[in-house]
Amino acid sequence: MKKATFALIAACTILRLAGAQEVGANAGIEAKIRALEMSWAQAEARKDNKALSALFDDELLFVEYDGQLLTKAEYLARVRDSEELGGTTESLSIRVFGGMALAIGVYREEVFRNGKPYLRRRRFIDTWVYKKDTWVCVAAAATLLPR
């Protein structure tokens, strides 16, 4: 009886430890993805294509808020040629699925049209995958939010 109780306590402890370890690992991944999303916004504002290139997988599928599908090269060219100044991430939540993570949030930016500034907000979902010891973005999509 004592042996069975001990075995049960040991099993429960191991399970709790394993669970705690997973929670800890996920928290680490969450922090990493948040940092990468922040690096993305900063690199885009600086038009730092070298830094941006390192964040994306070569097979990136990027859907702009106007529905255009862009490759990695097309997205980088768009950033380089853009006259927009960049913006800020209004909200961001991360969901971790082992070696894959989703970053879901809202991005806001002030843009100019015909010399007049207006606020543009878009909701995005970015898919990050752990590949060759690093996290890379494999897909990104944005949808314009109503004004």
């Binding site: 859907v63 529905g67 599908l69 879901i104």
Partner: protein, 149 residues
Amino acid sequence: MRRQLNAALSACAFVCALNWTSIAQDSLQGDATRIIALENAWSRASETKDTKSVNNLLDDSFVYVDVNGKMMTKAEVLKDITDSGVLQVVTKSMIARLHGTTGVVTGTFRLEGIVGGKPLRQQGRFVDTWLFKNGVWVCVASQATGIAR
């Protein structure tokens, strides 16, 4: 003799590696085809309001962003399928990319139906993220974006 044996073993290893690469490639190709078939099944199930089938395709943590940027949970999406007047869902130009146990699909869609007695016609582009979980592919996220005219 030893050299011949080494050469034979090397050749064997090379052929095995080629076969393994070919098997892995076939498997990737197979998974991409499978995911696109699941996308088509999702469209058909939405048309027939078969929420049971859609339920099996979506992970419980599923998140959806519609063309207006509205975020919905799995339960909300299933309710929307039941309540909406969508009669036809046509998907086209699908591209699937596989990254281990993650699959990403993009394509265009066109919805047609009747809402509030008025004809509904909506088109856009979608990006769906699939995950290989417990031996099956499930969709964990889907986003729709209107295509500017």
